[in-house]
Amino acid sequence: MSYIIPLIILFILTYGYIKGVKVYEVFVEGAKEGLQITYRIFPYIAAMLLAVGMLRKSGGLDFILYILSPVTNIMGIPKEVMPLVIMKPLSGSGALGVLADILKREGADSFAGIVASTIMSSTETIFYTITIYFGSIGIKNIRHTLAAALIADLAGVIGAVIICTILFK
Protein backbone atom coordinates (compact mmCIF):
# COMPACT_ATOMS: atom_id res chain seq x y z
CA MET A 1 0.00 0.00 0.00
CA SER A 2 2.96 2.36 0.36
CA TYR A 3 2.94 3.05 -3.40
CA ILE A 4 -0.51 4.66 -3.30
CA ILE A 5 0.64 8.22 -2.53
CA PRO A 6 3.48 8.39 -5.09
CA LEU A 7 1.09 6.96 -7.69
CA ILE A 8 -1.63 9.52 -6.96
CA ILE A 9 0.93 12.33 -7.23
CA LEU A 10 2.41 10.93 -10.46
CA PHE A 11 -1.04 10.49 -12.01
CA ILE A 12 -2.20 14.04 -11.23
CA LEU A 13 1.06 15.65 -12.34
CA THR A 14 1.23 13.59 -15.56
CA TYR A 15 -2.35 14.50 -16.41
CA GLY A 16 -1.57 18.18 -15.80
CA TYR A 17 1.64 17.99 -17.85
CA ILE A 18 -0.18 16.43 -20.82
CA LYS A 19 -2.88 19.10 -20.60
CA GLY A 20 -0.21 21.80 -20.82
CA VAL A 21 -0.41 23.00 -17.22
CA LYS A 22 2.75 24.73 -15.95
CA VAL A 23 3.02 22.05 -13.29
CA TYR A 24 5.86 23.56 -11.27
CA GLU A 25 4.38 27.06 -11.05
CA VAL A 26 0.87 25.80 -10.35
CA PHE A 27 2.15 23.41 -7.69
CA VAL A 28 3.94 26.26 -5.92
CA GLU A 29 0.82 28.41 -6.15
CA GLY A 30 -1.21 25.68 -4.45
CA ALA A 31 1.57 25.01 -1.95
CA LYS A 32 1.33 28.63 -0.81
CA GLU A 33 -2.34 28.05 -0.04
CA GLY A 34 -1.35 24.97 1.96
CA LEU A 35 0.99 27.11 4.00
CA GLN A 36 -1.77 29.63 4.66
CA ILE A 37 -4.24 26.92 5.67
CA THR A 38 -1.77 25.52 8.21
CA TYR A 39 -1.16 29.03 9.50
CA ARG A 40 -4.91 29.58 9.84
CA ILE A 41 -5.76 26.28 11.58
CA PHE A 42 -2.79 26.30 13.95
CA PRO A 43 -4.47 28.32 16.75
CA TYR A 44 -7.44 25.91 16.74
CA ILE A 45 -5.19 22.87 16.97
CA ALA A 46 -3.13 24.46 19.74
CA ALA A 47 -6.27 25.36 21.72
CA MET A 48 -7.65 21.85 21.42
CA LEU A 49 -4.34 20.07 22.17
CA LEU A 50 -4.09 22.23 25.27
CA ALA A 51 -7.58 21.30 26.49
CA VAL A 52 -7.24 17.59 25.65
CA GLY A 53 -3.75 17.46 27.20
CA MET A 54 -4.94 19.08 30.42
CA LEU A 55 -8.02 16.89 30.62
CA ARG A 56 -5.93 13.78 30.10
CA LYS A 57 -3.23 14.70 32.62
CA SER A 58 -5.77 15.57 35.31
CA GLY A 59 -7.52 12.20 35.01
CA GLY A 60 -10.69 13.87 33.73
CA LEU A 61 -10.52 12.14 30.36
CA ASP A 62 -10.21 8.69 31.98
CA PHE A 63 -13.30 9.54 34.01
CA ILE A 64 -15.31 10.49 30.89
CA LEU A 65 -14.10 7.37 29.05
CA TYR A 66 -15.02 5.25 32.06
CA ILE A 67 -18.57 6.62 32.00
CA LEU A 68 -18.79 5.94 28.27
CA SER A 69 -17.19 2.48 28.45
CA PRO A 70 -20.47 0.48 28.42
CA VAL A 71 -21.38 2.13 25.10
CA THR A 72 -17.90 1.76 23.58
CA ASN A 73 -17.63 -1.87 24.66
CA ILE A 74 -20.90 -2.79 22.96
CA MET A 75 -19.87 -1.12 19.71
CA GLY A 76 -16.29 -2.37 19.88
CA ILE A 77 -14.81 1.13 19.56
CA PRO A 78 -11.27 1.37 21.01
CA LYS A 79 -11.60 3.73 23.96
CA GLU A 80 -8.61 5.82 22.83
CA VAL A 81 -10.65 6.79 19.77
CA MET A 82 -13.70 8.00 21.73
CA PRO A 83 -12.56 11.64 22.17
CA LEU A 84 -12.45 11.91 18.37
CA VAL A 85 -15.87 10.26 17.97
CA ILE A 86 -17.33 12.91 20.28
CA MET A 87 -15.45 15.85 18.79
CA LYS A 88 -15.72 15.15 15.07
CA PRO A 89 -19.41 16.05 14.54
CA LEU A 90 -18.93 19.28 16.53
CA SER A 91 -15.75 20.87 15.23
CA GLY A 92 -13.41 20.00 12.36
CA SER A 93 -10.37 21.86 13.69
CA GLY A 94 -11.10 20.62 17.21
CA ALA A 95 -11.22 17.07 15.88
CA LEU A 96 -7.89 17.61 14.14
CA GLY A 97 -6.36 18.56 17.48
CA VAL A 98 -7.87 15.47 19.12
CA LEU A 99 -6.63 13.25 16.27
CA ALA A 100 -3.12 14.71 16.66
CA ASP A 101 -3.25 13.82 20.35
CA ILE A 102 -4.31 10.22 19.60
CA LEU A 103 -1.66 9.74 16.90
CA LYS A 104 1.05 11.10 19.18
CA ARG A 105 0.08 9.01 22.18
CA GLU A 106 -0.95 5.74 20.55
CA GLY A 107 1.27 5.96 17.46
CA ALA A 108 0.12 6.84 13.95
CA ASP A 109 0.29 3.21 12.79
CA SER A 110 -1.28 1.64 15.89
CA PHE A 111 -4.78 0.16 15.55
CA ALA A 112 -6.33 3.11 17.43
CA GLY A 113 -4.34 5.51 15.25
CA ILE A 114 -5.55 3.90 12.04
CA VAL A 115 -9.20 3.72 13.17
CA ALA A 116 -9.05 7.38 14.26
CA SER A 117 -7.50 8.46 10.94
CA THR A 118 -10.19 6.53 9.06
CA ILE A 119 -13.01 8.13 11.08
CA MET A 120 -11.48 11.57 10.54
CA SER A 121 -11.27 10.99 6.76
CA SER A 122 -14.75 9.59 6.26
CA THR A 123 -17.06 11.67 8.43
CA GLU A 124 -17.77 15.38 8.57
CA THR A 125 -18.51 18.16 11.03
CA ILE A 126 -22.28 17.74 10.77
CA PHE A 127 -23.52 20.14 13.46
CA TYR A 128 -21.45 22.94 11.97
CA THR A 129 -22.51 22.19 8.40
CA ILE A 130 -26.20 21.90 9.30
CA THR A 131 -26.12 25.18 11.26
CA ILE A 132 -24.29 27.11 8.54
CA TYR A 133 -26.14 25.67 5.54
CA PHE A 134 -29.67 25.99 6.91
CA GLY A 135 -28.86 29.27 8.65
CA SER A 136 -27.74 30.80 5.36
CA ILE A 137 -31.21 30.43 3.80
CA GLY A 138 -33.35 30.95 6.89
CA ILE A 139 -34.74 27.42 7.33
CA LYS A 140 -36.24 26.96 10.81
CA ASN A 141 -37.65 23.45 10.57
CA ILE A 142 -34.85 21.06 9.55
CA ARG A 143 -37.11 17.98 9.85
CA HIS A 144 -35.20 14.68 9.86
CA THR A 145 -31.82 16.12 8.80
CA LEU A 146 -30.04 15.81 12.15
CA ALA A 147 -31.34 12.29 12.82
CA ALA A 148 -30.29 11.01 9.38
CA ALA A 149 -26.91 12.79 9.56
CA LEU A 150 -26.22 11.29 12.98
CA ILE A 151 -27.12 7.84 11.66
CA ALA A 152 -24.61 8.36 8.82
CA ASP A 153 -21.99 9.54 11.33
CA LEU A 154 -22.56 6.56 13.62
CA ALA A 155 -22.39 4.21 10.63
CA GLY A 156 -19.06 5.88 9.79
CA VAL A 157 -17.69 5.22 13.26
CA ILE A 158 -18.83 1.60 13.52
CA GLY A 159 -17.87 0.96 9.88
CA ALA A 160 -14.35 2.29 10.50
CA VAL A 161 -13.87 -0.11 13.41
CA ILE A 162 -15.16 -3.09 11.40
CA ILE A 163 -13.22 -2.32 8.21
CA CYS A 164 -9.96 -1.63 10.07
CA THR A 165 -10.41 -4.81 12.12
CA ILE A 166 -10.80 -6.84 8.92
CA LEU A 167 -7.87 -5.16 7.14
CA PHE A 168 -5.35 -4.53 9.90
CA LYS A 169 -5.94 -6.86 12.80
Binding site: M1, S2, I4, I5, I8, I12, V21, F27, V28, G30, A31, E33, G34, L35, I37, T38, I45, A46, L49, L50, A51, G53, M54, L55, R56, K57, S58, G59, G60, F63, L90, G94, G97, A100, L103, A108, D109, S117, T118, S121, S122, T123, E124, F127, T129, F134, S136, I137, N141, I142, R143, T145, A148, A149, I151, A152, A155, G156, G159, I163
Partner: protein
Protein backbone atom coordinates in the same frame (compact mmCIF):
# COMPACT_ATOMS: atom_id res chain seq x y z
CA UNK B 1 -21.43 24.81 21.42
CA UNK B 2 -17.70 24.41 20.95
CA UNK B 3 -17.12 27.33 23.34
CA UNK B 4 -18.98 25.50 26.10
CA UNK B 5 -17.17 22.23 25.44
CA UNK B 6 -13.72 23.82 25.39
CA UNK B 7 -14.37 25.73 28.58
CA UNK B 8 -15.79 22.61 30.23
CA UNK B 9 -12.71 20.57 29.27
CA UNK B 10 -10.33 23.08 30.84
CA UNK B 11 -12.47 23.72 33.93
CA UNK B 12 -12.91 20.00 34.49
CA UNK B 13 -9.16 19.42 34.09
CA UNK B 14 -8.29 22.03 36.71
CA UNK B 15 -10.99 20.75 39.08
CA UNK B 16 -9.81 17.12 38.73
CA UNK B 17 -6.17 18.07 39.15
CA UNK B 18 -6.91 20.20 42.21
CA UNK B 19 -8.82 17.44 44.00
CA UNK B 20 -6.16 14.80 43.29
CA UNK B 21 -3.17 17.03 44.00
CA UNK B 22 -1.93 16.99 40.42
CA UNK B 23 -1.81 20.75 39.84
CA UNK B 24 1.97 20.77 39.38
CA UNK B 25 1.67 18.04 36.74
CA UNK B 26 -1.07 20.03 35.06
CA UNK B 27 1.20 23.06 34.96
CA UNK B 28 3.86 21.07 33.11
CA UNK B 29 1.27 19.62 30.75
CA UNK B 30 0.09 23.09 29.66
CA UNK B 31 3.53 23.96 28.33
CA UNK B 32 4.16 20.46 27.01
CA UNK B 33 1.00 20.45 24.93
CA UNK B 34 1.81 23.86 23.47
CA UNK B 35 5.26 22.61 22.54
CA UNK B 36 3.65 19.58 20.90
CA UNK B 37 1.33 21.79 18.87
CA UNK B 38 4.24 23.83 17.52
CA UNK B 39 6.17 20.68 16.52
CA UNK B 40 2.98 19.37 14.97
CA UNK B 41 2.39 22.53 12.95
CA UNK B 42 5.93 22.39 11.54
CA UNK B 43 5.36 18.82 10.39
CA UNK B 44 1.90 19.66 9.10
CA UNK B 45 3.20 22.46 6.86
CA UNK B 46 5.19 19.95 4.79
CA UNK B 47 2.22 17.72 4.03
CA UNK B 48 -0.21 20.56 3.41
CA UNK B 49 2.20 22.23 1.00
CA UNK B 50 2.52 18.96 -0.92
CA UNK B 51 -1.20 18.16 -1.15
CA UNK B 52 -2.44 21.66 -1.83
CA UNK B 53 0.18 21.94 -4.57
CA UNK B 54 -0.82 18.65 -6.18
CA UNK B 55 -4.52 19.46 -5.94
CA UNK B 56 -3.96 22.83 -7.58
CA UNK B 57 -2.51 20.98 -10.57
CA UNK B 58 -5.58 18.71 -10.59
CA UNK B 59 -7.80 21.78 -10.56
CA UNK B 60 -5.97 23.66 -13.33
CA UNK B 61 -5.68 20.61 -15.58
CA UNK B 62 -9.43 20.02 -15.63
CA UNK B 63 -9.15 16.77 -13.68
CA UNK B 64 -11.57 18.13 -11.08
CA UNK B 65 -14.16 18.82 -13.82
CA UNK B 66 -13.66 15.27 -15.13
CA UNK B 67 -14.46 13.91 -11.69
CA UNK B 68 -17.61 16.00 -11.51
CA UNK B 69 -18.79 14.36 -14.76
CA UNK B 70 -18.62 11.02 -12.93
CA UNK B 71 -20.49 12.32 -9.91
CA UNK B 72 -23.36 13.96 -11.79
CA UNK B 73 -25.21 10.77 -12.82
CA UNK B 74 -24.96 9.41 -9.27
CA UNK B 75 -26.43 12.59 -7.78
CA UNK B 76 -29.15 12.61 -10.44
CA UNK B 77 -30.17 9.14 -9.31
CA UNK B 78 -30.25 10.11 -5.62
CA UNK B 79 -31.99 13.45 -6.17
CA UNK B 80 -34.63 12.02 -8.49
CA UNK B 81 -37.15 14.70 -7.46
CA UNK B 82 -35.02 17.57 -8.78
CA UNK B 83 -34.61 18.92 -12.32
CA UNK B 84 -31.44 17.20 -13.56
CA UNK B 85 -30.00 20.22 -15.36
CA UNK B 86 -30.77 23.03 -12.88
CA UNK B 87 -28.37 25.31 -11.02
CA UNK B 88 -29.04 23.42 -7.80
CA UNK B 89 -27.72 20.19 -9.32
CA UNK B 90 -24.66 21.96 -10.73
CA UNK B 91 -23.74 23.49 -7.36
CA UNK B 92 -24.27 20.17 -5.56
CA UNK B 93 -22.03 18.37 -8.06
CA UNK B 94 -19.26 20.93 -7.50
CA UNK B 95 -19.69 20.74 -3.72
CA UNK B 96 -19.45 16.95 -3.83
CA UNK B 97 -16.40 17.03 -6.13
CA UNK B 98 -14.60 19.48 -3.84
CA UNK B 99 -15.41 17.32 -0.83
CA UNK B 100 -14.10 14.21 -2.56
CA UNK B 101 -10.77 15.90 -3.21
CA UNK B 102 -10.59 17.28 0.31
CA UNK B 103 -10.87 20.84 -1.02
CA UNK B 104 -12.81 22.06 2.00
CA UNK B 105 -12.33 25.69 1.06
CA UNK B 106 -14.13 25.22 -2.22
CA UNK B 107 -16.77 22.85 -0.83
CA UNK B 108 -18.43 25.27 1.58
CA UNK B 109 -19.11 28.14 -0.88
CA UNK B 110 -20.53 25.67 -3.43
CA UNK B 111 -22.62 24.03 -0.69
CA UNK B 112 -24.08 27.39 0.31
CA UNK B 113 -24.80 28.13 -3.34
CA UNK B 114 -26.58 24.77 -3.64
CA UNK B 115 -28.74 25.55 -0.58
CA UNK B 116 -29.59 28.91 -2.13
CA UNK B 117 -30.70 27.23 -5.36
CA UNK B 118 -32.68 24.56 -3.49
CA UNK B 119 -34.45 27.31 -1.56
CA UNK B 120 -35.64 28.83 -4.85
CA UNK B 121 -37.48 25.56 -5.55
CA UNK B 122 -38.94 25.50 -2.02
CA UNK B 123 -42.59 26.44 -1.51
CA UNK B 124 -42.47 26.71 2.32
CA UNK B 125 -39.48 28.96 2.88
CA UNK B 126 -38.82 28.09 6.53
CA UNK B 127 -39.23 24.30 6.22
CA UNK B 128 -36.45 22.16 4.75
CA UNK B 129 -37.26 20.22 1.57
CA UNK B 130 -36.44 16.54 1.09
CA UNK B 131 -33.60 17.49 -1.25
CA UNK B 132 -32.07 19.85 1.33
CA UNK B 133 -32.11 17.20 4.06
CA UNK B 134 -30.57 14.67 1.69
CA UNK B 135 -27.89 17.11 0.58
CA UNK B 136 -26.91 17.79 4.21
CA UNK B 137 -26.78 14.06 4.97
CA UNK B 138 -24.48 13.52 1.99
CA UNK B 139 -22.28 16.24 3.45
CA UNK B 140 -22.07 14.28 6.72
CA UNK B 141 -19.96 11.49 5.20
CA UNK B 142 -18.42 12.60 1.91
CA UNK B 143 -16.05 10.03 0.36
CA UNK B 144 -12.54 11.52 0.16
CA UNK B 145 -9.94 10.41 -2.38
CA UNK B 146 -7.29 12.62 -0.85
CA UNK B 147 -7.86 13.42 2.85
CA UNK B 148 -5.01 15.94 2.76
CA UNK B 149 -4.98 17.10 6.39
CA UNK B 150 -5.14 13.57 7.79
CA UNK B 151 -2.34 12.41 5.48
CA UNK B 152 -0.20 15.40 6.47
CA UNK B 153 -0.90 14.86 10.14
CA UNK B 154 -0.03 11.16 9.90
CA UNK B 155 3.30 11.81 8.23
CA UNK B 156 4.16 14.54 10.71
CA UNK B 157 3.42 12.04 13.50
CA UNK B 158 5.95 9.60 12.10
CA UNK B 159 3.67 7.16 10.30
CA UNK B 160 5.62 4.64 8.22
CA UNK B 161 2.73 4.58 5.78
CA UNK B 162 0.41 7.62 5.92
CA UNK B 163 -1.62 6.54 2.86
CA UNK B 164 -2.70 3.22 4.37
CA UNK B 165 -5.99 4.77 5.50
CA UNK B 166 -7.11 6.10 2.09
CA UNK B 167 -8.81 2.91 0.88
CA UNK B 168 -10.50 1.91 4.18
CA UNK B 169 -11.73 5.50 4.60
CA UNK B 170 -13.14 5.50 1.06
CA UNK B 171 -14.98 2.21 1.55
CA UNK B 172 -16.17 3.36 4.95
CA UNK B 173 -17.64 6.65 3.78
CA UNK B 174 -19.44 4.88 0.92
CA UNK B 175 -21.07 2.63 3.53
CA UNK B 176 -21.85 5.52 5.87
CA UNK B 177 -23.22 7.52 2.97
CA UNK B 178 -25.48 4.69 1.79
CA UNK B 179 -26.76 4.19 5.34
CA UNK B 180 -27.42 7.94 5.66
CA UNK B 181 -29.24 8.14 2.32
CA UNK B 182 -31.46 5.16 3.15
CA UNK B 183 -32.21 6.61 6.61
CA UNK B 184 -33.01 9.95 5.02
CA UNK B 185 -35.35 8.47 2.39
CA UNK B 186 -37.18 6.46 5.07
CA UNK B 187 -37.43 9.32 7.55
CA UNK B 188 -38.62 11.92 5.04
CA UNK B 189 -41.98 10.17 4.85
CA UNK B 190 -42.50 10.57 8.58
CA UNK B 191 -41.61 14.25 8.90
CA UNK B 192 -44.01 15.72 6.35
CA UNK B 193 -42.81 18.76 4.43
CA UNK B 194 -42.58 19.24 0.72
CA UNK B 195 -40.30 18.23 -2.12
Amino acid sequence: MINKIWFFMIAMAVAFAATSGKLALLNDEIFNSLKTSVELALGLIGGMVLWCGVLKVAEKSGLVDKLSLLIRPVLRLIFNELPSKGNAMGAMVMNMTSNMLGLGNAATPMGLKAMDELQKLNTKKDVATNAMCLFLVINAAPPQFIPATVLSLRSSMGSANPGIIILPALINSMLALTTGIIACKLLERTTGGSR
